[in-house]
Symmetry: C2
Subunit: 482 residues, 2 copies
């Protein structure tokens, strides 16, 4: 057994007196080494370093020379209360073992502030910085909160397929998955590619959504959720887009649009509350980071609330609910529109809302998360339930301040005849979707669901402005490093 260490987070949570006289072993990486005596040691369990004291004269100069930034150490000694500022305890080293050296001249992360862009190039090491350690511990906590929320409610976690022959959104550019060679690709007699020779005997892609398969689960288990990777082959090199990202897609039988919105709001509040309760240290760190960053911005570009304040505001206030039609009214009559400040002017009912319009509603008008419902049928997907008015569908988008759309969902069209008509009108290939239609043939039920983009949620909670900084190894156009 090598590992009899205690984690620094566990250690720091204790009363130092409880360790007095007791020998403990810690292992971690050197953050700084001051005065040939004070080692700030970090083991990734918390951003707070443990101060290790190497008493002057006690250790060989040859050993001390190897205590450089990022070297890894095993230290055994006694915990003593600390008189130093900002720490309750320190470790008086009895023995120090160098586990791994690190050449401080070559190590890419120097003990100074690096730009996020620079750290993106060093994604294999950026977890070792306070910012990224906090972001990814929060990502973990949010993921766990997702599972806990749904498990506690009796939802079944369904792993929907990643490789798929169907295209849920009927749109969305997809990645091909294949084992066919580019050279001498097998062809049919008419010259087209013979996908019967491909691994799955047909043309296959990476999924853009698990929703359609999720509906199969919901119409058996009642309530299911997915949580897995999804893919878009869109050539969007922006701070808001990834080619590979994680989505959470709950799907519930016996739900209408209102039930759906209620669940989504409860869910979002639950996972934010979970992080506020369990990751306060990391949130505080990121809140300071963000406040610091915003000081660089002109006054009118700064957030009105700090990060923690914003999160508390979200969990303590009801989301604003309104229909698309009401939103169009508000936008059309806004001074912003009258003064022609929108890049895309409000042309009237039926138009698709642009992100500037959503931001206006959320950030200027309501100043809180908004649930927009009942969109025109023409701008939404085939599977959304047609409302009684015959022109809108029971869709909903949840818009968050600073992020925009964070949830998209709808009540699903459960009426076989309406669905078939819609599929025909929207050119959805029926022969590929027989299994989907079957759920409407055999005991169809009112049902609904939504999708939450996990990375957008992490951005909202951590205040990170670039989506590439909240996923471990981002996949974007022309970039698949690590």
């Amino acid at each position: 057994m090598f590992n009899k260490r205690i984690k620094i987070k566990t250690l720091l949570a204790q009363d130092p007196e409880s360790y007095r006289e007791q020998e403990v072993t810690v292992m971690g990486w050197v953050r700084t080494f001051r005065n040939n005596q004070f080692i700030a040691l970090n083991d990734g369990s918390t951003n707070t370093n443990l101060q290790v004291v190497a008493e002057l004269g006690k250790f060989d100069e040859s050993l001390l020379k190897r205590i450089t930034t990022s070297a890894s150490l095993k230290v055994t000694g006694a915990i003593v209360p600390s008189l130093g500022k900002g720490q309750t305890m320190e470790l008086k080293a009895a023995s120090i073992e160098i586990l791994g050296d690190s050449d401080a001249e070559v190590y890419p992360l120097q003990p100074k502030k690096h730009s996020l862009e620079f750290l993106r190039e060093k994604a294999h090491l950026r977890f070792r910085t306070n910012t990224f350690a906090s972001v990814f511990r929060i990502r973990h906590a949010l993921a766990f909160a997702v599972h806990k929320f749904f498990n506690d409610k009796g939802f079944v976690y369904l792993h929907t397929p990643i490789i798929t022959a169907s295209d849920a959104e009927g749109a969305g550019e997809m990645f091909r998955v294949t084992t066919l060679p580019f050279e001498d690709t097998p062809k049919n007699e008419d010259g087209s590619i013979n996908f019967k020779e491909d691994f799955f005997g047909r043309s296959t892609n990476l999924t853009v959504s698990g929703q359609l398969e999720g509906e199969l689960g919901a119409t058996a288990f009642g309530e299911i959720y997915t949580f897995g990777p999804t893919f878009r082959a869109e050539n969007s090199n922006t701070a808001r887009h990834l080619a590979e990202f994680w989505m959470i897609e709950p799907e519930m039988a016996f739900y209408d649009l209102e039930d759906n919105a209620n669940l989504a709001e409860e869910f979002i509040k639950y996972i934010i509350r979970y992080v506020l309760e369990n990751n306060r240290e990391d949130l505080d760190f990121l809140a300071s980071r963000l406040a610091e960053e915003e000081k660089q911005l002109p006054q009118d570009k700064r957030s009105e609330m700090g990060l923690i304040e914003k999160l508390e505001f979200v969990i303590n206030n009801e989301f604003q609910r309104l229909t698309y039609t009401e939103a169009i009214d508000i936008l059309a009559n806004s001074n912003h529109n009258k003064k022609k400040k929108f890049q895309y002017p409000i042309t009237g009912w039926g138009m698709d809302l642009q992100s500037e319009h959503e931001r206006y509603l959320v950030e200027k008008h309501f100043k809180k998360p908004v649930i927009l419902t009942d969109y025109p049928a023409g701008i939404k997907s085939f599977y959304m339930r047609l409302n009684e008015d015959g022109k809108t569908v029971a869709a909903m988008d949840i818009l968050a301040p600073g992020i925009g759309e964070i949830v998209g969902g709808s009540q699903r069209e459960e009426r076989l005849d309406v669905l078939l008509e819609k599929m025909k009108a929207m050119h959805i290939p029926m022969e590929e979707m027989w299994w989907y239609v079957d759920t409407r043939r055999f005991g169809t039920v009112p049902h609904a669901g939504f999708g939450l983009g996990f990375e957008r949620m992490i951005q909202f909670v951590t205040g990170m402005s670039n989506i590439r900084d909240v996923i471990a190894f981002p996949r974007t156009p022309k970039s698949a490093e690590f």
Copy 2:
């Protein structure tokens, strides 16, 4: 609000007296309808149906005609204690609403026993059978137990990339991910495919393992785990192989092989215990199913233990640990080998073990899970740590009765010079792996990890013999339906 139902599982867990006089609403699908009076209603929360009583004469004949197998109903009424066999309560219907009809003549799942093969063709509906409902509720519970186990220990859940330019195992056939066209594929001057034109500006594949990226996380957070889909483009059409499956891969800094084996054993026992404690009804159902199925087998092919007994045995006994070298001795000296009963005879130290050898050790010799360690370096991956003997590596496989290899892991080679030499000898392309090697340059630490095939684990717990029956929509050669 549509959904004010109570789940049948919640209802059945109560004392029927607590509901007396109280009106409840349930929604679900009809399993059977007997004597024009007794509806067995199921909502997917449990295999136990709720008996709904439609008193004779109270409902229109036209309504009763629509109560067919798989029709969906909303029923409101009063709970009354039941005198019927095997049920504590029943629902006396005050109102019955048909949510969705189902033509009993056309509905593929008749109220009789269907073969697993038949149900695989109906994977969109098979969740509605007791067998698959139980399997997938257990799959959910195991997944939750995985997250809970690691979260409680302070591991960070890391989403390693699905699309990757590297090949962790140095072997394994991979699926290509591309947006390049098969026709007029862009070429370089020398005639080779110009992958600079592909979406990621290079040739990319679906991941076979998140381990290498996991190590990047472990050397920052200390302890991480992955839980995501992995892919093998192997043309293996067997009951044990999937092209798309889920893996759990913990990776821990400051662990040696013994720490690694301890964690793996604790982990496996934890998730099995979790299911025994939380899914007893589903396990009991599957145990009966398996016992029934095994009655068809000749005596010597039947399991020695029932399903529950087997799971309890596993959690209550220590796994057998031995080295590869000891295993070869046992196998070479076995009567089985001497009588030439192995298809692949034991040729001596250095040979790779076949599944028949592993099964002999687990099922005949030790009769319990086995942790085999310290394999010859030549038959294992480049990243496994070379032992002091210079010829074996600190690898481990965990073998389970009836399943074979369920875990593969190792202590990782943390010594830069040894790793580089190994990579060179095994032709691992250094330029693609600079980020991996960097962890050995900057504060390298002893570390270890393992991978658990989630579907194999579900098979072990549920007793399902075909891996296609424990994943929702299996991906196998020539098959990517749904």
